[in-house]
């Protein structure tokens, strides 16, 4: 049973933001609640107040904008998967959103929540006193680290669990954030923070801020994209490794490539070396293999997650070949 809390349902974003506090954890924003309620049941989070933003009209739905799409943060993942504009202009996002959880979770979970969800590390989820809980160690570093980071790890070795995050970074999306009185926009690749930047948090949101929308530019003309997700089981799990790849081939050679990995680093991890390995080459077996190899350059596996290195290499190659 969860501790009790108070619950409010403000009518507007401004009202919602005004109810937020100066400190993380005490007052929490709830939209779908698919992650937050799980955390509260397990006593990982115990907010005194929930501020619901699920019903606020400004945070809902997909709209066409000058450069692409504006997607309200409280838009359901299922609505993103099925939205014809998303399918046409940013198919990579539709594919990635469709890989989240199960139908029921996509019917309740929102894109904002998918981006702001907390890590799935089993030490974190079992309430070990780790860095994420204010402690001074990461139990996975010398422990059971089968599913942990091979890039950018330390001092915490969590991986970012979101499927939509790698897609949005690849698409060059922007996060819109509001504190009620102040608005700011942040490129998606600057929205997430590594444990070295802030070991307690996975993104830059301040306690009094709400993620309000994602601006997604239309995918470049002639580009092709794919989201590939490898899991322990065939469905309904978090990624061991996922790849969001978007490639534009002009006159037979790669003119633009964006390759972003999920499930292998504490943030969605853009692999510039893999992109460079493709540029100016035809997209074929040889260039895809070179990009796969380049993608794992610099990987630092832990004792039990070494398998993620060849897995990532293979999944990058396979994703790219599917676009050839």
């Amino acid at each position: 049973m969860m501790d009790n809390f108070s619950y409010s349902r403000p009518a507007t974003l401004k009202e919602a933001a005004n109810q937020l506090g100066k400190e993380h954890g005490k007052i929490a924003v709830i939209a779908g609640g698919t992650d937050l309620l799980g955390e509260m049941k397990d006593n990982l989070a115990a907010p005194e107040r929930l501020v619901s933003i699920r019903h606020i009209a400004d945070l809902q739905g997909v709209r066409a904008s000058a450069s692409g799409l504006r997607i309200g943060a409280a838009t359901l993942l299922a609505d993103i998967v099925e939205n014809p504009m998303v399918q046409e202009r940013t198919p990579l996002l539709a594919m990635a959103a469709g890989k989240v959880g199960t139908p029921q979770i996509r019917n309740m979970g929102t894109i904002g929540g998918n981006l702001c969800q907390r890590p799935r590390c089993w030490y974190y989820r079992n309430n070990f006193p780790c860095y994420k809980h204010g402690g001074n160690t990461c139990f996975s570093a010398a422990g059971e680290n089968d599913f942990h980071a091979i890039f950018l790890g330390g001092p915490s070795y969590i991986v970012h669990p979101s499927d939509t995050a790698p897609a949005l970074v690849a698409l060059g999306a922007t996060a819109r954030i509001s504190s009620g009185s102040r608005e700011r926009t942040v490129p998606m690749d600057k929205f997430f923070v590594t444990p070295r930047e802030d070991v307690r948090r996975e993104n830059i949101l301040l306690p009094n801020e709400v993620l309000t929308a994602i601006e997604v530019p239309t995918a470049p003309a002639g580009s092709k994209a794919v989201y590939v997700k490898e899991m322990v089981r065939e469905t309904w799990d978090f990624a061991l490794c996922s790849v969001a790849a978007m490639v534009t081939v002009k006159d037979g050679i790669v003119a633009d490539a964006r390759i972003v990995l999920g499930g292998v680093a504490p943030i969605p991890y853009r692999v510039a070396k893999a992109e460079a390995a493709l540029m100016g080459k035809p997209l074929n077996e040889a260039s895809a293999a070179a990009a796969g190899l380049a993608a794992v350059d610099g990987a630092r596996p832990l004792a039990k997650n070494g398998y993620k290195v060849p897995l990532t290499q293979a999944v990058v190659k396979r994703a790219l070949l599917s676009l050839a």
Binding site: N4, F5, G33, K41, T102, P103, Q104, I105, M108
Partner: protein, 156 residues
């Protein structure tokens, strides 16, 4: 710290004073005594608590009753208001799509969501659509056959 909510369940409106922490599944089972919706894992995994919230299938164990305020909910009881099984339930009955029956309400709603958008699903599509629902008797073969039979009988 009570909260007033008004939730329409199977067409009838229930106005109640609740604690904010009350889960929708407990509201259904304990506050208004509709026990057809089951609590299996209480962690969003098993799907036994699946109901329709504003006409889409969600897990009632990971939804606050407060989140359903002003919404319309359909539970398994709502599919057979006069005690007669609907065509999808009938298909589960004739094809032995249930053993202990605990997962059945959730399976029915997941299957119904599929049949609405795909009237002729392949066994693989059925399995994917039911990926959020576990059968503790592992009776999946007959559940897939039941959904196929419902599709063949024209259930949409």
């Amino acid at each position: 710290m009570k909260l007033s909510v008004s939730i329409q369940v199977n067409g009838r409106t229930y106005d109640r004073e609740i604690e904010p922490r009350l889960l929708l599944v407990h509201f259904l089972r304990d506050s208004i005594a509709l026990t057809g919706t089951k609590i299996g894992c209480d962690t969003s995994q098993c799907g036994a608590c699946t109901v329709l919230l504003d006409d889409v299938a969600v897990k009632a164990c990971t939804c606050l009753a407060a989140q359903a305020d002003g919404c319309s909910v359909t539970t398994i009881e709502g599919l057979a208001p006069d005690g007669r099984l609907n065509a999808l339930q009938e298909a589960f009955w004739t094809k032995h799509g249930l053993q202990c029956g605990f997962c059945t309400p959730g399976m029915i709603f997941a299957a119904q969501a599929l049949l609405r958008v795909n009237g002729n699903p392949s066994p693989e599509q059925i399995r994917h659509a039911l990926e959020g629902n576990l059968c503790r008797c592992t009776g999946y073969q007959n559940i897939v056959r039941s959904v196929q039979a419902a599709a063949a009988a024209g259930v949409r």
